[in-house]
């Protein structure tokens, strides 16, 4: 089997380098050609490679191509470390490559329209290409060290793109927050890598994941938990999720690409990649499942009452990632990856649709100032509706199949082991499905149905505040008759993603309707990547029960939203404490600020003003400086600059030496 992943890696890197060096000087069309060309070629390589993999017998579908040995140390006795820069290609990384480059390509094209008037056009595309490069590095690395490199680089790309409109204070703060929280995860991953090296004497996937049984369970559990710290930070799981909602400060295509479809799923990928270790650590698996479940419910509940359309989608993303971790926590790895793929389709579509709305409304993100767009933006509305149906789990769209795969897996595992915790998780999954349907239709109705609610101030009013400079302004609403459907360069990616959201579900298993043989994606993954993991086959009766209930719950959520918001969203001040609590995201940011940030700032202020800082530390260092200055002031008098003085000095020195030896004998 050919392994083209090096090319998939190199094209975006090349694009980034070209744009980074010359983007400032070249035409916008040239910027677009380079950026989309790089991403398109990467996608093309991935597709060719995919077909080459399909044409290879199952036994030959793993390829570990070492390009060069990057680091060799300790070749003598004792542990040695050899790290090669190589690409590990198996069905799992193949799936990720296709999703990353494919969805990435669509979002590149979409961005051409969305960012058209932005002064940072070339910078944006350079960053996007850099992100694709980093993400491909992450998913195609053949050892943990380069995985870490990719892991950190996608964090950097995310930082750069969240802070893309760096004139906005809030964007810079959000970028910093994302970076700091991600570094916590990087640190966890680093510790995990140290532990792996100490115990396995190697960092290559092929060595570590081949035969870890000889290592004791405690160590493996520790490794898995540290890996999961990294996953929780990158995939915004409790308690490290706070950065993702704030990351919505970035341009909307970025939210779609990085903070919905690809980067945030890196944690799901990592758990799947190292599932051999997780399989041996039931405690870690339980924690993964529990955190996934808790996050799914928690984030879905916050999404219920958010008013910013992108924040609703952000919390929804966190919640859906929770689903994926739930599946992986019960060893349903292929179910998790399946949901990752379908989620990439419909969540990217939702974000791009939201971006189209924001674009048409000239930067408005508040759902209180929307409404009635159905008749103005038909393509956006239809595709958004498809995505909403898909994420709500309405058959036969993509989300229905993948979500039911997860719920069915949970229930199957629960009935098999009789573990009451798993029944609870399954219940949480069902409840979250209902909440998801409710908040998604609330969002849909708020944007598209009812009457247009913005109060346009005169459009002529030029508003030269800092946000206008950033190419993104809130001038106070757009006249309804000015609202136009987005141009084709933006709507075509929407249509493609909508098509994928409709048919994406058929990649999964259709055993529910009797077609037991049909399961392309699970078979593709299970045969090679998830070989050791148990296949969770639920009986058809159980699956029907789970499916029936989840569809019922989703319809219930839809019905509630229909009753409340069908005629358009109307915001009423609600004073009930529970509502305030959820609207303010459980006050987590405030609590964190109170518990962590304020005390540390206070401590810093106290210490900064204390005698220790001013008198001892500052005084001490300044005193030393003063001492040296004073002494040298005296001593430098000796350097008179008169040659004859020096000569006298030399002579006296010589005389002294001679006298010394003469006297000593």
């Amino acid at each position: 089997m050919a392994n083209l992943s090096l090319w998939v890696l190199l094209f975006p890197l090349l694009g980034f380098i070209i744009l980074g060096l010359s983007g400032r000087f070249i035409q916008r069309s040239a910027v677009l050609a380079v950026a989309c060309g790089a991403c398109g070629l990467a996608f093309l390589c991935a597709v060719i490679n995919f077909f080459s993999m399909l044409g290879t017998p199952v036994s030959g579908r793993v390829s570990d191509q070492v390009v060069f040995n990057w680091l060799t140390s300790g070749t003598g006795n004792g542990p040695s470390l050899t790290i090669g820069f190589g690409q590990y290609l198996d069905p799992l990384s193949m799936t990720m490559l296709l999703v990353v480059t494919g969805v990435g390509l669509l979002i590149h094209i979409y961005s051409a329209g969305y960012m058209e008037e932005d002064p940072g056009f070339w910078r944006f595309f350079a960053y996007l290409n850099f992100f694709i490069f980093a993400m491909v590095l992450l998913v195609s690395a053949d050892n943990f060290l380069f995985l870490l490199v990719g892991w950190a680089l996608v964090g950097l790309a995310s930082f750069l793109l969240i802070g893309f409109w760096y004139q906005r204070r809030s964007a810079v703060a959000a970028a910093r927050k994302a970076f700091v929280i991600n570094v916590i995860g990087d640190f966890g991953l680093m510790l995990a890598i140290f532990l792996i090296f100490v115990n396995f004497q190697s960092l290559n996937f092929s060595d570590v994941l081949k035969n870890p049984i000889s290592i004791n369970t405690g160590t493996i559990t520790a490794i898995c938990l540290l890996l999961f710290v990294a996953c929780a930070a990158k995939s915004a799981q409790l308690p490290l999720y706070m950065w993702l909602p704030d990351a919505m400060e970035g341009p909307t295509p970025v939210s779609a690409l990085i903070h919905a479809a690809t980067m945030v799923t890196a944690g799901v990928y990592l758990v799947a990649r190292t599932h051999v270790l997780f399989d041996l650590a039931p405690v870690a698996l339980n924690i993964v499942a529990a955190i996934g479940g808790a996050t799914a419910l928690f984030a879905a509940s916050i999404a219920l009452f958010q008013l910013d359309i992108k924040r609703v989608l952000a919390y929804s993303t966190i919640s859906q990632l929770g689903y994926m971790f739930m599946a992986e926590g019960v060893q349903g790895y292929s179910a998790g990856i399946f949901h990752l793929v379908t989620h990439a389709f419909f969540k990217a579509l939702l974000f791009l649709g939201a971006g189209a709305v924001i674009h048409a409304l000239d930067g408005e993100q508040d759902m209180r100032k929307m409404g009635g767009l159905w008749s103005r933006m038909r393509i956006t509305a239809w595709t958004f509706l498809i995505a909403t149906l898909a994420i709500s789990g309405i058959p036969p769209l993509a989300g229905f199949w993948s979500k039911d795969d997860i719920l069915g897996t949970l229930l199957a595992q629960a009935t098999k082991t009789g573990n009451p915790g798993l029944y609870v998780l399954w219940g949480i999954g069902l409840l979250t499905a209902g909440l998801t349907a409710f908040y998604m239709f609330r969002l849909f109705f708020a944007i598209f149905s009812g009457r247009y609610r913005a109060q346009p101030i005169a459009v002529e009013q030029e508003d030269e505040d800092e946000e206008a400079v950033a190419g993104h302004h809130h001038a106070g609403g757009v006249y309804y008759y000015y609202i136009r459907e987005v141009p084709p360069v933006m709507s075509i990616p929407l249509i493609i993603l909508a098509a994928l959201s409709v048919i994406g579900g058929f990649l999964g298993s259709l055993s529910l309707i009797g077609l037991a043989k049909w399961a392309p994606l699970p078979n593709f993954l299970n045969a090679v990547s998830f070989q050791g993991a148990p296949i969770l086959e639920a009986s058809t009766a159980i699956m029907w029960m789970s499916t029936g209930l989840s569809v019922l719950v989703a319809l219930l959520g839809f019905a509630v939203a229909w009753v409340l918001y069908r005629k358009g969203f109307s915001y009423k001040e609600n004073r009930s404490p529970l509502y305030r609590l959820i609207l303010n995201k459980y006050y987590v940011d405030e609590a964190l600020s109170f518990v962590l940030i304020k005390p540390i700032q206070g401590l810093g202020r106290v210490v900064g003003n204390s005698f220790l800082e001013g008198g001892v530390l500052d005084g001490g260092s300044r005193g030393i400086a003063r001492l040296f200055r004073g002494v040298s002031k005296g001593i430098r008098k000796v350097q008179t600059g008169y040659t004859r003085n020096y000569a006298l000095g030399i002579l006296l020195g010589v005389v002294l030496i001679v006298v010394y030896y003469a006297v000593r004998g």
């Binding site: 001593i635 430098r636 350097q639 600059g641 008169y642 040659t643 004859r644 000569a647 006298l648 002579l651």
Partner: protein, 102 residues
Amino acid sequence: MASVPLSAYLIMSAILFTIGATGVLIRRNPLIIFMSIELMLNAVNLSFVALSHFLDSADGQMFVFIVLTVAAAEVVVGLALIVSIFRSRRNIDVDEMNILRG
């Protein structure tokens, strides 16, 4: 023929050396200072040669050649410096050249 004793040579050498050293220390004209340095070097040469003769060894005389060579080289460099300083300042008083004072 009564040979001159070694001590006479050494005393002569010491006297010449002292005259040279004094000249270096008290004169301000670099040309005179150079001449004084030559005097000091030749005082040393004198003691080398005398000792070489009295100890019946050629080592001392070899050193004399080295000293002569070094002295010649030193004069070349020194005179070049003096010329170039004179060109830029029209003055070669060593006490005026004290820019590098502390």
